[in-house]
Protein backbone atom coordinates (compact mmCIF):
# COMPACT_ATOMS: atom_id res chain seq x y z
CA UNK A 1 0.00 0.00 0.00
CA UNK A 2 2.06 2.96 -1.21
CA UNK A 3 -0.63 5.57 -1.07
CA UNK A 4 1.44 8.72 -1.00
CA UNK A 5 4.56 7.95 -2.95
CA UNK A 6 3.76 10.76 -5.37
CA UNK A 7 2.59 13.30 -2.82
CA UNK A 8 5.49 13.31 -0.44
CA UNK A 9 8.88 13.56 -2.01
CA UNK A 10 10.75 14.65 1.07
CA UNK A 11 13.60 17.08 1.30
CA UNK A 12 14.21 17.29 -2.43
CA UNK A 13 11.37 19.76 -2.97
CA UNK A 14 12.67 22.26 -0.45
CA UNK A 15 14.49 25.31 -1.68
CA UNK A 16 17.35 24.92 0.74
CA UNK A 17 17.76 21.24 1.50
CA UNK A 18 19.99 21.62 4.52
CA UNK A 19 17.73 24.02 6.45
CA UNK A 20 16.03 22.31 9.39
CA UNK A 21 12.26 21.85 9.20
CA UNK A 22 11.97 23.06 12.76
CA UNK A 23 14.51 24.71 14.99
CA UNK A 24 14.43 25.63 18.66
CA UNK A 25 17.21 27.80 20.07
CA UNK A 26 17.28 28.28 23.81
CA UNK A 27 13.50 27.93 23.88
CA UNK A 28 12.03 28.43 27.34
CA UNK A 29 8.34 28.46 28.18
CA UNK A 30 7.01 29.37 31.59
CA UNK A 31 3.46 29.20 32.88
CA UNK A 32 3.56 31.47 35.89
CA UNK A 33 5.87 29.80 38.37
CA UNK A 34 6.16 26.59 36.37
CA UNK A 35 8.90 26.22 33.79
CA UNK A 36 7.44 23.75 31.31
CA UNK A 37 10.31 23.98 28.86
CA UNK A 38 13.77 25.02 29.97
CA UNK A 39 16.33 26.30 27.46
CA UNK A 40 15.76 23.68 24.76
CA UNK A 41 17.91 23.79 21.63
CA UNK A 42 17.33 21.28 18.86
CA UNK A 43 16.82 20.91 15.11
CA UNK A 44 14.34 18.70 13.31
CA UNK A 45 15.91 17.86 9.98
CA UNK A 46 14.38 16.63 6.73
CA UNK A 47 13.69 12.91 6.64
CA UNK A 48 14.12 12.20 10.34
CA UNK A 49 11.88 10.01 12.48
CA UNK A 50 12.27 11.41 15.96
CA UNK A 51 10.92 9.94 19.15
CA UNK A 52 10.25 12.45 21.89
CA UNK A 53 10.26 10.45 25.07
CA UNK A 54 9.33 11.58 28.54
CA UNK A 55 6.91 11.00 31.40
CA UNK A 56 3.61 12.88 31.58
CA UNK A 57 4.17 16.55 32.29
CA UNK A 58 7.76 16.43 31.04
CA UNK A 59 7.23 19.24 28.53
CA UNK A 60 6.66 17.21 25.35
CA UNK A 61 3.32 18.77 24.50
CA UNK A 62 4.59 22.26 25.33
CA UNK A 63 7.48 21.71 22.94
CA UNK A 64 5.08 20.64 20.17
CA UNK A 65 2.76 23.60 20.85
CA UNK A 66 5.68 26.00 20.29
CA UNK A 67 6.51 24.37 16.95
CA UNK A 68 2.80 24.49 15.99
CA UNK A 69 2.64 28.21 16.75
CA UNK A 70 -0.08 27.65 19.34
CA UNK A 71 2.12 29.14 22.02
CA UNK A 72 5.05 31.49 21.96
CA UNK A 73 8.26 30.85 23.86
CA UNK A 74 8.85 33.00 26.94
CA UNK A 75 12.41 33.39 25.72
CA UNK A 76 14.50 31.92 22.94
CA UNK A 77 13.40 31.39 19.34
CA UNK A 78 11.37 28.77 17.49
CA UNK A 79 11.36 28.46 13.71
CA UNK A 80 9.20 26.33 11.44
CA UNK A 81 10.34 25.88 7.83
CA UNK A 82 12.53 28.92 8.33
CA UNK A 83 9.65 31.18 9.38
CA UNK A 84 7.69 32.04 12.48
CA UNK A 85 5.34 29.22 13.57
CA UNK A 86 2.67 31.81 14.40
CA UNK A 87 2.53 32.77 10.69
CA UNK A 88 -0.15 30.55 9.12
CA UNK A 89 1.94 30.21 5.95
CA UNK A 90 4.74 28.50 7.89
CA UNK A 91 2.28 25.79 8.88
CA UNK A 92 1.27 24.78 5.32
CA UNK A 93 3.57 21.76 5.34
CA UNK A 94 2.91 20.82 8.96
CA UNK A 95 0.46 18.14 10.08
CA UNK A 96 -0.57 17.49 13.69
CA UNK A 97 -2.90 15.27 15.66
CA UNK A 98 -5.62 16.78 17.83
CA UNK A 99 -6.22 15.17 21.20
CA UNK A 100 -8.73 12.36 20.76
CA UNK A 101 -11.23 14.20 22.94
CA UNK A 102 -10.93 17.25 20.69
CA UNK A 103 -13.06 16.15 17.74
CA UNK A 104 -16.31 18.17 17.73
CA UNK A 105 -19.04 15.82 18.96
CA UNK A 106 -21.76 16.98 16.59
CA UNK A 107 -19.76 16.92 13.36
CA UNK A 108 -19.61 13.79 11.24
CA UNK A 109 -16.24 12.14 10.68
CA UNK A 110 -16.30 12.97 6.95
CA UNK A 111 -17.04 16.61 7.74
CA UNK A 112 -14.09 16.86 10.14
CA UNK A 113 -11.76 15.33 7.56
CA UNK A 114 -12.99 17.79 4.91
CA UNK A 115 -12.67 20.76 7.27
CA UNK A 116 -9.04 19.98 8.09
CA UNK A 117 -8.19 19.07 4.50
CA UNK A 118 -9.56 22.41 3.23
CA UNK A 119 -6.49 24.15 4.70
CA UNK A 120 -4.02 22.37 2.45
CA UNK A 121 -3.27 22.92 -1.25
CA UNK A 122 -2.87 19.21 -2.03
CA UNK A 123 -5.16 17.07 0.09
CA UNK A 124 -5.63 13.33 0.27
CA UNK A 125 -9.19 12.43 -0.82
CA UNK A 126 -11.43 11.54 2.13
CA UNK A 127 -12.13 7.99 0.92
CA UNK A 128 -8.42 7.32 0.48
CA UNK A 129 -7.34 8.53 3.94
CA UNK A 130 -10.31 6.74 5.56
CA UNK A 131 -9.35 3.54 3.82
CA UNK A 132 -5.72 3.84 4.84
CA UNK A 133 -6.48 4.40 8.52
CA UNK A 134 -9.41 2.01 8.58
CA UNK A 135 -12.42 4.23 9.29
CA UNK A 136 -14.28 4.09 5.97
CA UNK A 137 -17.38 2.71 7.66
CA UNK A 138 -17.38 5.58 10.18
CA UNK A 139 -17.48 8.55 7.79
CA UNK A 140 -21.21 9.19 8.33
CA UNK A 141 -21.03 8.87 12.12
CA UNK A 142 -20.96 11.87 14.45
CA UNK A 143 -17.67 12.08 16.31
CA UNK A 144 -19.44 12.03 19.69
CA UNK A 145 -20.60 8.47 19.07
CA UNK A 146 -17.15 7.02 18.46
CA UNK A 147 -15.01 4.96 20.82
CA UNK A 148 -11.68 6.30 22.07
CA UNK A 149 -9.75 4.01 19.76
CA UNK A 150 -11.77 5.08 16.71
CA UNK A 151 -11.23 8.76 17.54
CA UNK A 152 -7.51 8.18 17.93
CA UNK A 153 -7.23 6.62 14.47
CA UNK A 154 -9.09 9.56 12.95
CA UNK A 155 -6.96 12.05 14.89
CA UNK A 156 -3.78 10.50 13.51
CA UNK A 157 -5.23 10.42 9.99
CA UNK A 158 -5.93 14.17 10.22
CA UNK A 159 -2.21 14.79 10.62
CA UNK A 160 -1.59 13.23 7.20
CA UNK A 161 -4.57 14.53 5.21
CA UNK A 162 -2.71 17.59 3.87
CA UNK A 163 0.31 15.60 2.63
CA UNK A 164 2.59 17.42 5.10
CA UNK A 165 6.38 17.38 5.04
CA UNK A 166 6.58 17.41 8.83
CA UNK A 167 4.17 15.55 11.08
CA UNK A 168 3.91 15.96 14.84
CA UNK A 169 2.16 13.03 16.51
CA UNK A 170 1.36 13.60 20.17
CA UNK A 171 0.84 10.26 21.93
CA UNK A 172 -0.63 8.67 18.78
CA UNK A 173 -1.41 5.24 20.20
CA UNK A 174 -2.49 6.01 23.76
CA UNK A 175 -5.51 3.88 24.60
CA UNK A 176 -5.22 1.63 21.55
CA UNK A 177 -5.10 -2.15 21.74
CA UNK A 178 -2.03 -4.00 20.50
CA UNK A 179 -3.37 -4.70 17.00
CA UNK A 180 -4.50 -1.15 16.39
CA UNK A 181 -1.18 0.11 17.67
CA UNK A 182 0.75 -2.02 15.20
CA UNK A 183 -1.47 -0.89 12.32
CA UNK A 184 -0.74 2.74 13.22
CA UNK A 185 2.97 2.11 13.57
CA UNK A 186 2.96 0.57 10.10
CA UNK A 187 1.22 3.66 8.72
CA UNK A 188 3.74 5.99 10.37
CA UNK A 189 6.67 3.96 9.00
CA UNK A 190 5.11 3.93 5.54
CA UNK A 191 4.72 7.71 5.48
CA UNK A 192 8.24 8.17 6.76
CA UNK A 193 9.56 5.88 4.04
CA UNK A 194 7.66 8.00 1.51
CA UNK A 195 9.57 11.06 2.68
CA UNK A 196 7.57 12.55 5.55
CA UNK A 197 9.54 13.78 8.54
CA UNK A 198 7.91 12.55 11.73
CA UNK A 199 8.14 13.59 15.37
CA UNK A 200 6.28 11.22 17.66
CA UNK A 201 5.89 11.72 21.40
CA UNK A 202 5.29 8.88 23.77
CA UNK A 203 5.75 7.81 27.31
CA UNK A 204 6.09 4.22 26.14
CA UNK A 205 9.70 3.20 25.59
CA UNK A 206 8.40 0.31 23.47
CA UNK A 207 6.71 2.68 21.05
CA UNK A 208 9.78 4.85 20.65
CA UNK A 209 11.94 1.75 20.16
CA UNK A 210 9.59 0.45 17.48
CA UNK A 211 9.50 3.69 15.51
CA UNK A 212 12.25 6.19 16.11
CA UNK A 213 15.71 6.54 14.66
CA UNK A 214 16.64 9.53 16.79
CA UNK A 215 15.45 9.80 20.36
CA UNK A 216 15.11 12.90 22.48
CA UNK A 217 14.54 12.23 26.17
CA UNK A 218 12.94 15.11 27.97
CA UNK A 219 11.99 15.59 31.61
CA UNK A 220 11.25 18.65 33.74
CA UNK A 221 11.35 20.65 30.52
CA UNK A 222 14.97 19.81 29.81
CA UNK A 223 16.57 17.64 27.16
CA UNK A 224 18.30 14.79 29.01
CA UNK A 225 19.47 12.96 25.93
CA UNK A 226 19.36 13.57 22.18
CA UNK A 227 20.98 10.79 20.22
CA UNK A 228 20.41 7.76 18.03
CA UNK A 229 18.01 5.14 19.33
CA UNK A 230 20.86 2.74 20.06
CA UNK A 231 22.87 5.28 22.00
CA UNK A 232 19.92 6.40 24.09
CA UNK A 233 18.81 2.83 24.71
CA UNK A 234 22.25 2.04 26.04
CA UNK A 235 22.03 5.00 28.37
CA UNK A 236 18.66 3.95 29.73
CA UNK A 237 19.54 0.27 29.76
CA UNK A 238 18.90 0.18 33.45
CA UNK A 239 17.50 -2.89 35.08
CA UNK A 240 15.96 -3.78 38.40
CA UNK A 241 17.71 -6.48 40.38
CA UNK A 242 16.13 -8.16 43.38
CA UNK A 243 18.02 -10.45 45.72
CA UNK A 244 18.15 -11.59 49.29
CA UNK A 245 21.44 -11.07 51.09
CA UNK A 246 22.62 -11.17 54.71
CA UNK A 247 24.87 -8.18 53.97
CA UNK A 248 22.63 -5.68 52.17
CA UNK A 249 24.84 -2.64 52.78
CA UNK A 250 27.77 -4.27 51.05
CA UNK A 251 25.66 -5.22 48.03
CA UNK A 252 24.12 -1.77 47.79
CA UNK A 253 27.58 -0.18 47.77
CA UNK A 254 28.67 -2.08 44.66
CA UNK A 255 29.38 -0.16 41.44
CA UNK A 256 26.49 0.35 38.98
CA UNK A 257 23.88 0.54 41.74
CA UNK A 258 21.91 3.73 41.20
CA UNK A 259 19.27 3.23 43.83
CA UNK A 260 18.53 0.68 46.55
CA UNK A 261 15.58 -0.10 48.77
CA UNK A 262 14.43 -2.82 51.10
CA UNK A 263 11.28 -4.56 49.89
CA UNK A 264 8.62 -6.60 51.62
CA UNK A 265 7.47 -6.45 55.23
CA UNK A 266 8.11 -8.41 58.39
CA UNK A 267 9.92 -11.69 57.93
CA UNK A 268 9.83 -11.34 54.15
CA UNK A 269 11.84 -8.15 54.45
CA UNK A 270 14.79 -9.95 55.94
CA UNK A 271 17.54 -8.81 53.62
CA UNK A 272 15.36 -8.60 50.49
CA UNK A 273 16.78 -5.80 48.37
CA UNK A 274 15.56 -4.06 45.21
CA UNK A 275 18.34 -2.35 43.29
CA UNK A 276 18.15 -0.16 40.22
CA UNK A 277 21.36 -0.65 38.25
CA UNK A 278 22.54 1.14 35.14
CA UNK A 279 24.11 -2.00 33.64
CA UNK A 280 22.72 -5.37 34.75
CA UNK A 281 25.50 -7.49 33.22
CA UNK A 282 28.29 -5.46 34.76
CA UNK A 283 26.52 -5.38 38.10
CA UNK A 284 26.09 -9.15 38.26
CA UNK A 285 29.78 -9.63 37.44
CA UNK A 286 30.68 -7.21 40.27
CA UNK A 287 28.31 -8.99 42.62
CA UNK A 288 29.82 -12.38 41.95
CA UNK A 289 33.39 -11.08 42.13
CA UNK A 290 32.69 -9.31 45.39
CA UNK A 291 31.98 -12.59 47.09
CA UNK A 292 28.96 -11.20 48.92
CA UNK A 293 26.45 -13.84 49.84
CA UNK A 294 23.13 -13.68 47.99
CA UNK A 295 20.26 -15.87 46.90
CA UNK A 296 17.04 -15.74 44.84
CA UNK A 297 18.47 -13.30 42.29
CA UNK A 298 16.00 -11.86 39.76
CA UNK A 299 16.76 -9.36 37.00
CA UNK A 300 14.17 -7.54 34.94
CA UNK A 301 14.30 -4.60 32.53
CA UNK A 302 13.50 -1.29 34.13
CA UNK A 303 10.22 0.37 33.34
CA UNK A 304 10.52 3.68 31.59
CA UNK A 305 10.05 5.56 34.85
CA UNK A 306 12.81 3.57 36.49
CA UNK A 307 15.02 4.05 33.47
CA UNK A 308 14.41 7.80 33.58
CA UNK A 309 15.24 7.84 37.22
CA UNK A 310 18.53 6.11 36.52
CA UNK A 311 19.26 8.57 33.75
CA UNK A 312 18.42 11.60 35.90
CA UNK A 313 20.48 10.29 38.81
CA UNK A 314 23.41 9.63 36.51
CA UNK A 315 23.13 13.19 35.25
CA UNK A 316 23.08 14.45 38.79
CA UNK A 317 26.25 12.56 39.60
CA UNK A 318 28.23 14.62 37.11
CA UNK A 319 29.57 17.81 38.74
CA UNK A 320 28.16 20.08 36.05
CA UNK A 321 24.61 18.81 36.37
CA UNK A 322 24.87 18.80 40.15
CA UNK A 323 25.86 22.45 40.36
CA UNK A 324 23.21 23.33 37.83
CA UNK A 325 20.52 21.74 39.97
CA UNK A 326 21.59 23.29 43.25
CA UNK A 327 21.39 26.68 41.58
CA UNK A 328 17.72 26.28 40.79
Amino acid sequence: MKAHASGATGAATLASTDAPFARLVGATRRFGELTALDDVTLDVNAGELIGLLGPNGAGKSTLLSLVQGRRRPTSGTVELFGGSPSDARSRLRLGSTPQETALPDTLRVGEVVDLVAAHYPDRVPTAEIADEFGFSELLRRQCGSLSGGQKRRIAVALAFVGRPKLVLLDEPTTGLDVDARHVLWAAIRRHHAAGTTVVVTSHYLEEIEALAERVIVIDHGRVLADDTLTAVRDRVMSAVVELTSPEPARVAALPHVVRDEVVGEGAAAAGRLRLTVDDADAFVRELVTSGAAFERLTVRGASLEEAFLALTLTEQATPLAASDRSAS
Binding site: A15, F31, G32, L34, A36, S65, Q68, G69, R70, R71, R72, G83, S86, A88, R89, S90, R91, L92, L94, S96, P98, Q99, T101, A102, L103, P104, T106, L107, E111, D114, L115, V116, A118, H119, Y120, P121, Q142
Partner: protein, 266 residues
Protein backbone atom coordinates in the same frame (compact mmCIF):
# COMPACT_ATOMS: atom_id res chain seq x y z
CA UNK B 1 -15.20 25.72 -15.46
CA UNK B 2 -12.69 27.73 -13.52
CA UNK B 3 -11.02 26.30 -10.49
CA UNK B 4 -10.65 28.49 -7.42
CA UNK B 5 -8.21 31.21 -8.33
CA UNK B 6 -4.91 30.52 -6.64
CA UNK B 7 -3.29 33.55 -5.10
CA UNK B 8 0.02 34.55 -6.65
CA UNK B 9 2.62 32.55 -4.80
CA UNK B 10 5.92 34.12 -4.04
CA UNK B 11 8.76 31.74 -4.65
CA UNK B 12 10.15 31.02 -1.18
CA UNK B 13 6.87 30.92 0.74
CA UNK B 14 3.60 29.46 -0.45
CA UNK B 15 0.44 31.22 0.62
CA UNK B 16 -2.36 29.65 2.61
CA UNK B 17 -5.51 28.27 1.01
CA UNK B 18 -7.73 30.90 -0.68
CA UNK B 19 -9.45 32.76 2.14
CA UNK B 20 -13.00 32.72 0.78
CA UNK B 21 -13.51 28.95 0.32
CA UNK B 22 -11.76 28.38 3.65
CA UNK B 23 -14.07 30.90 5.31
CA UNK B 24 -17.10 29.23 3.70
CA UNK B 25 -15.96 25.83 4.99
CA UNK B 26 -15.52 27.08 8.57
CA UNK B 27 -18.82 28.94 8.44
CA UNK B 28 -20.62 25.84 7.17
CA UNK B 29 -19.23 23.64 9.94
CA UNK B 30 -20.05 26.19 12.65
CA UNK B 31 -23.64 26.52 11.42
CA UNK B 32 -23.99 22.73 11.25
CA UNK B 33 -22.68 22.42 14.81
CA UNK B 34 -25.23 24.94 16.05
CA UNK B 35 -28.12 23.44 14.11
CA UNK B 36 -27.45 19.99 15.51
CA UNK B 37 -27.74 21.37 19.07
CA UNK B 38 -30.22 24.21 18.52
CA UNK B 39 -31.27 24.67 22.16
CA UNK B 40 -28.35 27.05 22.76
CA UNK B 41 -29.78 29.75 20.48
CA UNK B 42 -33.43 29.36 21.41
CA UNK B 43 -33.10 31.14 24.77
CA UNK B 44 -31.54 34.27 23.35
CA UNK B 45 -34.13 34.25 20.56
CA UNK B 46 -37.10 34.13 22.93
CA UNK B 47 -35.91 36.63 25.54
CA UNK B 48 -36.36 39.96 23.65
CA UNK B 49 -39.78 38.94 22.27
CA UNK B 50 -40.89 38.05 25.80
CA UNK B 51 -39.64 41.44 27.03
CA UNK B 52 -41.78 43.12 24.41
CA UNK B 53 -44.77 40.97 25.33
CA UNK B 54 -44.50 41.62 29.09
CA UNK B 55 -43.23 45.22 29.30
CA UNK B 56 -44.47 47.00 26.21
CA UNK B 57 -47.69 45.30 25.16
CA UNK B 58 -49.48 45.75 28.55
CA UNK B 59 -48.49 49.46 28.56
CA UNK B 60 -51.32 50.64 26.30
CA UNK B 61 -50.05 54.26 26.15
CA UNK B 62 -47.02 52.99 24.30
CA UNK B 63 -48.52 50.01 22.53
CA UNK B 64 -51.40 51.99 21.02
CA UNK B 65 -49.28 54.93 19.87
CA UNK B 66 -47.77 54.17 16.45
CA UNK B 67 -44.64 56.30 16.99
CA UNK B 68 -43.83 55.08 20.51
CA UNK B 69 -44.70 51.48 19.65
CA UNK B 70 -42.45 51.52 16.59
CA UNK B 71 -39.59 52.93 18.66
CA UNK B 72 -40.16 50.33 21.39
CA UNK B 73 -40.20 47.44 18.91
CA UNK B 74 -37.11 48.86 17.23
CA UNK B 75 -35.31 49.26 20.55
CA UNK B 76 -36.03 45.65 21.45
CA UNK B 77 -35.02 44.47 17.97
CA UNK B 78 -31.65 46.17 18.51
CA UNK B 79 -31.58 44.62 21.98
CA UNK B 80 -32.32 41.17 20.52
CA UNK B 81 -29.47 41.37 18.06
CA UNK B 82 -27.10 42.80 20.68
CA UNK B 83 -27.87 40.17 23.32
CA UNK B 84 -27.62 37.38 20.83
CA UNK B 85 -24.34 38.68 19.45
CA UNK B 86 -22.71 39.22 22.83
CA UNK B 87 -24.02 36.04 24.42
CA UNK B 88 -23.76 33.55 21.62
CA UNK B 89 -20.42 34.74 20.35
CA UNK B 90 -18.81 35.62 23.68
CA UNK B 91 -19.83 32.38 25.31
CA UNK B 92 -19.14 30.18 22.29
CA UNK B 93 -15.68 31.63 21.82
CA UNK B 94 -14.85 31.38 25.53
CA UNK B 95 -16.09 27.79 25.73
CA UNK B 96 -14.31 26.74 22.57
CA UNK B 97 -11.04 28.09 23.89
CA UNK B 98 -11.41 25.72 26.83
CA UNK B 99 -11.85 22.71 24.55
CA UNK B 100 -8.93 21.09 22.72
CA UNK B 101 -10.42 21.47 19.20
CA UNK B 102 -9.73 25.20 18.91
CA UNK B 103 -6.05 24.87 19.86
CA UNK B 104 -5.81 22.17 17.20
CA UNK B 105 -7.31 24.45 14.55
CA UNK B 106 -4.64 27.00 15.46
CA UNK B 107 -1.98 24.49 14.45
CA UNK B 108 -3.44 24.37 10.91
CA UNK B 109 -2.44 26.87 8.21
CA UNK B 110 -5.45 28.99 9.13
CA UNK B 111 -5.16 32.80 9.13
CA UNK B 112 -6.64 34.39 12.27
CA UNK B 113 -8.99 36.64 10.27
CA UNK B 114 -10.64 33.67 8.54
CA UNK B 115 -11.53 31.93 11.78
CA UNK B 116 -12.75 35.12 13.47
CA UNK B 117 -14.85 36.05 10.44
CA UNK B 118 -16.42 32.60 10.29
CA UNK B 119 -17.23 32.57 14.00
CA UNK B 120 -18.77 36.03 13.76
CA UNK B 121 -20.81 35.26 10.65
CA UNK B 122 -22.21 32.01 12.01
CA UNK B 123 -23.38 33.84 15.12
CA UNK B 124 -24.68 36.75 13.08
CA UNK B 125 -27.02 34.40 11.22
CA UNK B 126 -28.66 33.30 14.47
CA UNK B 127 -28.52 36.78 16.03
CA UNK B 128 -30.50 38.09 13.14
CA UNK B 129 -33.07 35.36 13.48
CA UNK B 130 -33.65 36.64 17.04
CA UNK B 131 -35.47 39.72 15.73
CA UNK B 132 -38.09 37.65 13.91
CA UNK B 133 -40.13 36.92 17.07
CA UNK B 134 -39.81 40.59 18.12
CA UNK B 135 -41.18 41.77 14.78
CA UNK B 136 -44.04 39.26 14.91
CA UNK B 137 -45.08 40.28 18.44
CA UNK B 138 -44.68 43.95 17.46
CA UNK B 139 -46.86 43.60 14.39
CA UNK B 140 -49.59 41.55 16.06
CA UNK B 141 -49.85 43.11 19.51
CA UNK B 142 -48.91 46.78 19.06
CA UNK B 143 -49.69 49.68 16.75
CA UNK B 144 -46.09 49.73 15.49
CA UNK B 145 -46.03 50.18 11.76
CA UNK B 146 -43.39 50.46 9.11
CA UNK B 147 -43.29 50.73 5.32
CA UNK B 148 -41.77 47.90 3.30
CA UNK B 149 -38.87 50.13 2.29
CA UNK B 150 -38.46 51.23 5.90
CA UNK B 151 -38.39 47.60 7.07
CA UNK B 152 -35.75 46.58 4.54
CA UNK B 153 -33.62 49.68 5.24
CA UNK B 154 -34.00 49.10 8.97
CA UNK B 155 -32.88 45.49 8.70
CA UNK B 156 -29.81 46.52 6.71
CA UNK B 157 -28.98 49.24 9.24
CA UNK B 158 -29.49 46.77 12.08
CA UNK B 159 -27.19 44.25 10.43
CA UNK B 160 -24.43 46.79 9.88
CA UNK B 161 -24.70 48.38 13.33
CA UNK B 162 -24.61 44.96 15.03
CA UNK B 163 -21.01 44.37 13.86
CA UNK B 164 -19.43 46.10 16.89
CA UNK B 165 -21.46 43.87 19.22
CA UNK B 166 -20.28 40.77 17.38
CA UNK B 167 -16.66 41.91 17.57
CA UNK B 168 -17.10 42.84 21.21
CA UNK B 169 -18.63 39.43 21.93
CA UNK B 170 -15.65 37.76 20.24
CA UNK B 171 -13.23 39.96 22.22
CA UNK B 172 -14.89 39.03 25.50
CA UNK B 173 -14.68 35.37 24.49
CA UNK B 174 -10.96 35.63 23.74
CA UNK B 175 -10.21 37.62 26.90
CA UNK B 176 -12.15 35.73 29.57
CA UNK B 177 -12.95 32.20 30.73
CA UNK B 178 -16.52 31.13 30.00
CA UNK B 179 -17.67 31.76 33.58
CA UNK B 180 -16.17 35.24 33.71
CA UNK B 181 -17.50 35.94 30.21
CA UNK B 182 -21.10 35.36 31.36
CA UNK B 183 -20.73 37.98 34.11
CA UNK B 184 -19.04 40.50 31.84
CA UNK B 185 -21.66 40.04 29.14
CA UNK B 186 -24.59 40.42 31.56
CA UNK B 187 -23.26 43.68 33.00
CA UNK B 188 -22.33 45.02 29.58
CA UNK B 189 -25.61 43.95 28.02
CA UNK B 190 -27.85 45.82 30.47
CA UNK B 191 -25.51 48.80 30.59
CA UNK B 192 -25.67 49.12 26.84
CA UNK B 193 -29.42 48.48 26.76
CA UNK B 194 -30.33 51.21 29.29
CA UNK B 195 -27.56 53.61 28.31
CA UNK B 196 -28.35 53.29 24.63
CA UNK B 197 -32.05 53.99 25.11
CA UNK B 198 -33.24 50.54 24.06
CA UNK B 199 -35.59 50.20 27.06
CA UNK B 200 -36.57 53.87 27.60
CA UNK B 201 -36.40 56.41 24.81
CA UNK B 202 -33.40 58.78 25.18
CA UNK B 203 -35.77 61.77 24.96
CA UNK B 204 -36.74 60.92 28.56
CA UNK B 205 -33.10 60.92 29.74
CA UNK B 206 -31.67 63.75 31.89
CA UNK B 207 -29.28 65.87 29.87
CA UNK B 208 -26.03 64.37 31.23
CA UNK B 209 -27.23 60.84 30.46
CA UNK B 210 -28.39 61.86 27.00
CA UNK B 211 -24.88 63.20 26.28
CA UNK B 212 -23.18 60.11 27.72
CA UNK B 213 -25.57 57.91 25.77
CA UNK B 214 -24.23 59.28 22.49
CA UNK B 215 -20.99 57.36 23.09
CA UNK B 216 -22.75 53.98 23.41
CA UNK B 217 -22.76 51.63 20.40
CA UNK B 218 -26.29 50.62 21.32
CA UNK B 219 -27.38 54.26 20.94
CA UNK B 220 -25.74 54.47 17.50
CA UNK B 221 -27.46 51.24 16.47
CA UNK B 222 -30.82 52.51 17.71
CA UNK B 223 -30.57 55.92 16.04
CA UNK B 224 -29.21 54.66 12.73
CA UNK B 225 -31.84 51.93 12.51
CA UNK B 226 -34.54 54.43 13.43
CA UNK B 227 -33.28 56.85 10.77
CA UNK B 228 -33.33 54.04 8.21
CA UNK B 229 -36.86 53.01 9.16
CA UNK B 230 -38.19 56.59 9.10
CA UNK B 231 -36.18 57.61 6.06
CA UNK B 232 -34.51 60.53 7.84
CA UNK B 233 -30.88 61.59 7.44
CA UNK B 234 -28.67 60.28 10.26
CA UNK B 235 -26.62 62.81 12.18
CA UNK B 236 -22.84 62.87 11.93
CA UNK B 237 -22.18 61.76 15.53
CA UNK B 238 -24.20 58.58 14.98
CA UNK B 239 -22.18 57.57 11.93
CA UNK B 240 -18.85 58.60 13.43
CA UNK B 241 -19.62 56.72 16.63
CA UNK B 242 -20.67 53.54 14.82
CA UNK B 243 -17.56 53.57 12.63
CA UNK B 244 -15.26 54.22 15.59
CA UNK B 245 -16.77 51.33 17.58
CA UNK B 246 -16.54 48.99 14.58
CA UNK B 247 -12.86 49.74 13.96
CA UNK B 248 -11.98 49.72 17.65
CA UNK B 249 -13.65 46.40 18.37
CA UNK B 250 -12.17 44.84 15.20
CA UNK B 251 -8.65 45.75 16.31
CA UNK B 252 -9.40 44.55 19.83
CA UNK B 253 -10.72 41.17 18.61
CA UNK B 254 -7.76 40.60 16.29
CA UNK B 255 -5.25 41.54 18.99
CA UNK B 256 -6.89 39.32 21.59
CA UNK B 257 -7.08 36.37 19.15
CA UNK B 258 -3.38 36.63 18.36
CA UNK B 259 -2.50 36.99 22.02
CA UNK B 260 -4.67 34.08 23.06
CA UNK B 261 -3.01 30.71 23.65
CA UNK B 262 -6.05 28.70 24.62
CA UNK B 263 -6.65 27.34 28.06
CA UNK B 264 -4.43 28.75 30.75
CA UNK B 265 -2.00 26.43 32.45
CA UNK B 266 -2.36 26.16 36.20
Amino acid sequence: MTSTAARPTDAPRASTAPALPLYAMHLRMLVIETLRVPIAVIGTMAFPALSLLFFVVPNRAVAEDPVFATQAVLGLAVFAVMVSALFNLGLTVAENREKPWDPYLRSLPLPAMVRIAAQISSTAVFSFLAIVPVLIVGAVATEASVSVIGLVAGLVALAVTSIPFLLLGASIGYAFSSKAAIAVIQVGMFGFAFGGGLFFPPQLFPEWLETLSRFFPSRHARELTLAAVEGTTPELWMLAGAIAWTLGTALLALWLYRRDEGRRYR
